[in-house]
Subunit: 332 residues, 2 copies
């Protein structure tokens, strides 16, 4: 780039001159508005293409009263859960010609307020709020359309596209039961996290008599997965399955079982949760788990926002994860 | 949000009326321009605050000829390498009141062209181009300031903020030599990747006589790390260190050595590359590695872009990774 190049930007007057029409006609032709003959419209477009003319989206924005821009606020520094949500949303919004402004609050309420002011002053058409946690959060206070993605709003009148955690746990419990496993332990993350407790409760309720002992709560870590195996086998030496609240925990469980000479899934079947490739595929054996469909969640959030912007009334949704079967439950 | 709320937006005329000044005076006070008495400026600001008035950034943008917006184009779907770069850049740009538009090309040149047109039509002040690979890429063709981050431009006259891969490999080689290791093998990713070959060559040159055999090339995976151990020990049973091109490879190396009854670092020291927490900390033992300082790289890219936008002439830079020592080289 150079200042010279920047100065040589093609203007609509250049296009009008080359096409031999007035500026008003050129503008109508390029904006696809007004009454024009097809051949005039075609001549203007050809001239625009020849000159490399680019429409100024800001002009369109001011004349339509819209900025064709939306904000995406995350508390997650665009981490593992937010990224796919963001990509899905961006895909839908960008196909609708809306650009997405990134706002990373780093879980800091002062930064969040800064971004909300900045987005408001830029007159964005709407905002998607997302985060690392599936625990509900208080809504943001703005007078424009807002959709909550992954992290739902505590206000039931808001539009939230969230994940049906409990259903994911049920799907995995069903899978273990269908394989004839009848002594299933459950190991999850911190009890204070909605994702840990809702998965554990749903699995426990679904497993019924096949549940061995109360679910164990710990960290979202491989280390906790390894430690939990020793606790579980002391409590119930004849376990035939361990369902885990995350792939990280499940990977630790598989590692520790192998070290103890237990075969997975021959002796004990293991399930994860998340379908995080780095864990689920690197695990030995690879993990049966549920895929959270976060990119689909992001797409639905983007669609809901487009609908809200168009004054529609989209409904809140909880997306069902899908079962992914690998060697940790069905050996080769 | 509702249409009613949107309609009740406070206008500068309301602020001027409350402060008892003309619209021109109110505008000067709020934009911090023109000659005004301090007390007038204060009165206008107080009125604006009382009414909850928000400046329209689009007005500022049109009057200044700038959009106060930059684009960030990535080929990486905002993956592991791009995210920290993006966060660092966003931090600097947002402190400078610039908003960042996300553009995820998914490594698709048609999508890239779409985004470049979209950013041009939005009259962004500049663009940061980044990606998953440290291999140089052809420059994008736009007449505005561009900075390349992590993935450098093939055009040496462009501003690229990249990573000094070779220096990272030298730092790790020095560390192993300083510990008295004298039979060091090198295991890296695919030879066609600049990151794999530049790290391997730099390590080999630096290790000199302490290098055991030629560097091995494979995948960026734990599985390749595990496989490589068998190859290396067959070739050189008395190895005392294995330096790896990534943390993933190094984690696999540690796992396989443990399975073979070799102590890390007692028998064999192991080093990674990347400081990717998910791998480096979960590895048993945790990995000595180099931290790529990607967030700092992003910040420097953001600063370089601000400088270019202000018509400065920032220089290209290659950032040096820093050594992170953990138990895989210095046992407890």
């Amino acid at each position: 780039m150079s200042q010279d190049q920047a100065a040589s930007v093609v203007r609509i007057t250049d296009v009008a001159a080359l096409a031999g029409v007035s500026i008003g006609t050129a503008s109508k032709a390029l904006n696809d508005t007004g009454q024009l003959r097809d051949e005039t419209r075609a001549r203007v477009r050809e001239a625009a293409q020849k000159l490399g003319f680019v429409m100024d989206a800001r002009g369109r924005a001011l004349s339509s009263g819209r900025s064709y821009t939306v904000g995406m606020i995350t508390t997650d520094s665009f981490g593992r859960f937010t990224i796919p949500v963001m990509l899905g949303a961006e895909d839908v919004l960008s196909a609708g010609q809306l650009a997405v402004l990134m706002c990373d609050t780093r879980d800091d309420s002062v930064r969040e307020q800064h971004y909300i002011r900045s987005l408001t002053s830029r007159r964005v058409d709407g905002i998607i709020v997302t985060g690392r946690s599936s625990d509900p959060r208080p809504p943001i206070d703005v007078a424009i359309p807002v959709v909550y993605a992954f992290t739902p709003s505590t206000d039931p009148s808001d539009v939230s596209i969230s994940l049906d955690d409990a259903r994911g746990a049920e799907i995995l419990a069903d899978h273990l039961l269908s394989l004839g496993r009848s002594k299933v332990a459950y190991v999850s993350g911190p009890r204070r996290h909605a994702a840990a407790s809702s998965r554990a409760s749903a699995a426990a309720a679904h497993l019924g008599a096949a549940l061995e002992g109360d679910p164990l709560y710990g960290d979202w870590s491989e280390q906790w997965g390894r430690q939990s195996v020793d606790l579980l086998l002391r409590r119930s030496p004849d376990l035939d399955a361990i369902a885990c609240g995350s792939d990280q925990i499940a990977r630790g469980v598989c590692d520790r079982l192998r070290e103890l000479g237990k075969s997975v899934p021959g002796d004990i079947a293991v399930t994860g949760f998340d379908d995080w490739n780095v864990m689920a595929l690197a695990s030995r054996p690879p993990l049966t788990t549920v895929n959270l469909r976060l990119e689909e969640l992001g797409r639905l959030a983007g669609q809901a926002l487009l609908e809200l912007i168009a004054s529609g009334r989209p409904a809140s949704l909880a997306i069902e994860p899908t079962l992914v079967i690998r060697a940790s439950t069905i050996g080769s």
